[in-house]
């Protein structure tokens, strides 16, 4: 092992500096959108305190010995299960979802904690037995690890977090060497089931695509037919199952596909967010000068619609700056995931990469009206203690891995 005493070799400023910039931009945006608010006026100070606490934890995790994270993986995952169950029993309902556990004034979202647990346990499980990589049982277990919490999360219901769980699980399997055919095998029933929500035509077209895929893979006829039948059953069974849901649950599924089902609620927010960003222009209207933000056209703007504050007050330049910072972080993470000598480390970093990328895509997409409205915060910028702590803790874990990246444990 090459030992270097240069600090750059033990601490990646390429990951730390952009994060710090994003946190500062987030502080400005939270300040602008809440400081004059009658109810949320002290959110800026709360946000600042959360950042300071999170950064302390970040450096604490950085200095931990190299094996600590691997050892804690199982504990974090199973304790997160406990909290996910607990929240369904004693949780507070906020905006229609039972996702908060409160201790007096302090509240936290177990789903955020569970995201950290998921990444660690999957990396732990997949890196345990190298030889059994393509073993069907290993894959099935990995899927179980990722998808069982999804049931608890959907019960809250928190669609955004459920999507994050599914995407992280599948991408980590992919990173671990899953072949294309198995990927196809895992993904196709889900795609068919979702397609069934869009009606008969969509379902049939998707099934035809599945058939085409099966022909492409040129497996033997018996396997291909079995998979096709399985897919068809998934599609029809899901369609049938939806009919037995209660009307409000059906409506929730419908608004997942088309947010304009509720034009005065979610639809209104998209329109107003787009107007805010579009009206920002090249340089923006200036800090504390965005009329859309200051006149509070977007409810709860400081959480999921924080990017529209940046867009309105700091304009195209501000938006691009945020994008570049995210790009640097994502780039460095992917590079580290590739370079890390240890399989566990590589998988954890890839998991963190996927975590940030999924949140980024869904949140920015929602602000620009590209993706449907799914409540997910923008990492580093959105107001909200639990989600901020989760992403900074993950970045701390990555920094710890960076320190040991050249070691094989």
């Amino acid at each position: 092992m090459r030992v270097s005493y240069k600090i750059q070799d033990r601490f990646d400023f390429g990951l730390f500096a952009p994060m710090l910039f994003l946190l500062i931009i987030g502080l400005f945006a939270v300040y602008s959108s809440t400081i004059n608010h009658p109810v949320a006026g002290d959110n800026f100070y709360k946000h600042l305190i959360w950042i300071i606490i999170s950064l302390f934890i970040y450096f604490f995790i950085f200095i931990l010995p190299k094996n600590t994270i691997r050892i804690s993986a199982v504990w974090i995952y199973f304790s997160s299960f406990f909290f996910l169950l607990l929240v369904l029993v004693i949780g507070d309902v906020v905006f229609g979802a039972k996702s908060w556990i409160r201790f007096g004034d302090f509240g936290f979202q177990p789903a955020e904690y569970a995201k950290v647990g998921l990444i660690l346990i999957l990396a732990y499980w997949m890196s345990k037995e190298k030889e059994k990589l393509s073993d069907a049982l290993t894959i099935v277990c990995s899927l179980a690890i990722g998808f069982i919490p999804v049931i608890l999360i959907l019960a809250q219901p928190d669609m955004g977090t459920a999507i994050v769980f599914i995407i992280i699980t599948i991408t980590m399997l992919f990173w671990n060497g899953l072949d294309l055919f198995t990927m196809f095998l895992i993904l196709s029933p889900g795609v068919v089931a979702i397609a069934s929500l869009f009606g008969w035509v969509a379902l049939l077209v998707t099934l035809l695509l599945v058939a085409a895929g099966l022909i492409f893979f040129r497996k033997n006829i018996f396997i291909s037919v079995t998979i096709f039948i399985f897919n068809a059953i998934a599609g029809f069974a899901f369609e049938y199952f939806v009919r037995f849901l209660k009307p409000h649950q059906q409506l929730r599924l419908a608004s997942f596909i088309d947010p304009y089902v509720d034009p005065t609620g979610a639809g209104y927010n998209i329109i107003q967010a787009k107007v805010a960003i579009g009206s920002g222009g090249l340089w923006g209207k200036g800090f504390m000068n965005g009329n859309q933000t200051q006149l509070r056209f977007i409810p709860q703007q400081w959480t999921d619609f924080i990017y529209s504050v940046v867009g309105e007050e700091f304009g195209f330049i501000g938006c691009m700056f945020v994008l570049i910072l995210f790009f640097i972080i994502l780039w460095r993470l992917l590079k580290l995931a590739t370079n890390a000598k240890d399989r566990f480390n590589s998988l954890v970093v890839l998991g963190v990469f996927m975590f940030i990328f999924t949140h980024f895509v869904i949140n920015i997409g929602m602000n620009l009206g590209i993706t449907p409205v799914i409540g997910l915060p923008l990492p580093f910028l959105s107001y909200g203690g639990s989600s901020l702590l989760a992403v900074i803790v993950l970045m701390g874990i990555v920094q710890n891995i960076y320190k040991n990246r050249l070691e094989q444990v």
Binding site: I277, G278, K341, R343
Partner: protein, 596 residues
């Protein structure tokens, strides 16, 4: 991951393709809306922002029992300054016109908790003279405007402040609890009937969609107001209060502290609900000025305190009928049981005094002359548990169930209570003696005393006391009478006959309240003079009339003045006279007119 390094690079590239694709899409979208279509979006944001505005609904109004309008609504002007357009060089002029202190406007601006883009309500209840002056000069006063707010209006000369209650802007705590119904700045009932009947009174807020520009200037109505929802007025309340009677009560209580309740025994309808001293609700319209609030809450006479159903007092001798009922109904005594009163009673080494030496007295005579010696001994004879049982039967020690937010239970001690306070076996029978004359640790409200008078009047049957008879639904204008629960005691008529006879003699025999006698009217009553640690005795009087067919039951308590017969009884007399004599006179007048 050396083992499949090449493969990993491929996988990395696949992921990178997704990353690049998404960044390209976002940048394309940003360029499109922020750079190319910026002007259109800017125009939308500057000129075409739809703002949802809530419109206050008028609250339901109050009528008295004879449909006399008591409380209604009035429009009021609120002066508004819009900080983005307003020029501070007008400060001194506006402050002078609105009679505000110098520097007030800048103080309000700097303390404003809302955005500096939003208009500030600078003064409520602005006079017509300011509006007229503003209308003449509005062109030269940028950023100054006014709006109309709906406020409570009190039409009559009665106060009735504790019963009516006041409204105020919703507190942040209330807002947290009922986020889905109310919003910031809404007016809600804070006390009294305004609070209890809030859901009936509040109506439904209207919604109007207006187009505003970035400076919050109103450009016009959105979609010509087709999407607007008009506010709906709340439902009206028809009270049980009798305006004339309430007025007499308030006038005769001027200068005194205390309270009076009058009830129609057959229905439980409250005719008079008056706590004194009172305050003027007109001072509270459109929000309570902090200075006024401070002044009222620091007043040593406590005008804001509701003495009728919140304050607890020892009932004094007015309570003696409870013992009489218990003794007779439990067959512990009969009318032939007599004691000799030599001016007091020696028990456990203490001498409990009586007012006079009454000689030989039975239960009727004891009520008539208010003989303490009789009731000291009766208390020991019936015991604490029976005393507590009959206290509860007569409505003491528990809430009356009145349709009003304040309904104090009072305190009726029993052996559990004494065990808890003094320890088991550590309290003496001597403690009980004073309970026999309504002193000591028992306490009641004036409302409970009035209900007690009702039960005595109507042989143990009445309805839960209430202040609202019915509701006039705004939508249909139908009158919907409210139903209240029946209150019934298990005590026999025979027992009531004996006790009521005693109360009759209090006024018509040689009793303590002969001064209440009104020609052609039969009144039964009982005086009380309550010792208390706050100074002179409280004067108490409960009564009902007419004796054979009771139409009114009254309870009066005057704080720290002296004898019940001297101070409380005359007020009760005035109420009964006003209610029965004038009412009968009118009826007689009607009858004679018909005969003639």
């Amino acid at each position: 991951m050396n083992d499949d390094f090449l493969k990993l690079l491929v996988r990395k590239r696949i992921i990178l393709i997704f990353v690049f694709l998404f960044f390209a899409l976002v940048i394309y979208e940003l360029v499109k809306i922020q750079l190319i279509e910026n002007v259109a979006y800017l125009a939308k944001s500057e000129e075409n922002s739809i703002k949802k505005m809530e419109q206050q609904a008028p609250r339901g109004v109050f009528y008295d029992r004879n449909f006399k309008l008591l409380v209604t609504n009035k429009p009021s002007f609120v002066a508004i300054l819009n900080p983005t357009k307003y020029d501070s060089k007008f400060d001194s002029l506006i402050e002078k016109k609105l009679q505000l202190d110098s520097g007030y406007i800048q103080k309000v601006f700097s303390q404003s908790t809302t955005s500096r883009f939003l208009p500030v309500k600078i003064k409520k209840n602005v006079g017509y003279d300011f509006i007229a002056w503003y209308e003449e000069n509005s062109d030269s006063l940028p950023g100054v405007s006014y709006e109309i707010e709906i406020q409570r209006d009190y039409l009559t000369d009665i106060s009735c402040a504790h019963a009516f209650g006041y409204t105020n802007e919703i507190t942040s705590k209330q807002l947290q609890e009922k986020k889905d119904i109310y919003s910031y700045g809404d007016i809600v009932g804070s006390t009294g009937l305004e609070k209890y009947y809030e859901n009936e009174l509040k109506g439904q807020k209207g919604i109007s969609y207006i187009l505003v520009d970035s400076k919050q200037r109103v450009i016009g109505k959105y979609d010509d107001g087709k999407q607007d929802i008009a506010p709906v007025k709340g439902n009206d309340l028809v009270l049980t209060i009798d305006y004339n009677l309430q007025k007499v009560a308030e006038e005769s209580f001027k200068g005194y502290r205390g309270g009076i309740v009058a009830i129609e025994p057959k229905t439980g309808e409250i005719l008079v609900f008056s706590s004194s001293p009172t305050f003027d609700l007109r001072q509270f319209t459109g929000g309570i000025p902090p200075q006024k609030w401070k002044e009222l809450s620091n007043d040593p006479k406590k005008p804001l305190f509701n003495r009728v159903s919140s304050a607890k007092y020892s009932p004094g001798s007015a309570y003696k009928m409870v013992l009489a009922l218990a003794g007779l109904e439990e067959n512990i005594i009969t009318t032939s049981w007599t004691i000799g009163c030599g001016g007091g009673f020696l028990f456990g080494g203490n001498f409990f005094r009586c007012t006079h030496a009454h000689g030989s007295v039975n239960v009727t005579r004891a009520i008539e002359a208010s003989c303490n010696t009789f009731f000291y001994q009766l208390m020991l004879k019936i015991g604490l548990e029976n005393w507590a049982k009959y206290s509860r039967i007569m409505g003491f020690g528990s809430k009356t169930g009145i349709d009003f937010p304040e309904d104090n239970s009072g305190l009726i001690p029993d052996s559990n209570y004494y065990n808890k306070v003094y320890g088991k076996g550590k309290w003496k029978k001597g403690y009980l003696v004073s309970l026999g004359i309504g002193q000591g640790e028992c306490s009641v409200t004036i409302l409970q005393l009035a209900q007690y008078a009702s039960l005595l009047a109507n042989f143990g049957e009445t309805y839960q006391p209430h202040l609202v008879k019915g509701i006039i639904e705004n939508e249909t204008q139908n009158y919907i009478p409210l139903k209240f629960e029946k209150v019934k005691t298990p005590i026999s008529k025979k027992t009531f006959d004996i006790v009521r006879d005693g109360m009759f003699k209090v006024v018509h025999g040689s009793g303590t309240a002969r001064s209440v006698f009104i020609p052609n009217l039969t009144i039964a009553g009982k005086t009380g003079t309550v010792q208390n640690p706050h100074g002179a005795n409280h004067a108490v009087f409960i009564a009902f009339a007419p004796y054979d067919d009771p139409q009114i039951a009254v309870a009066v308590l005057v704080e720290n003045v002296g004898y019940g017969a001297t101070y409380a009884a005359p007020i009760a007399k005035k109420i009964i006279e006003e209610y029965l004599v004038k009412k009968n006179n009118i009826e007689e007048l009607v009858e004679t007119t018909i005969i003639n």
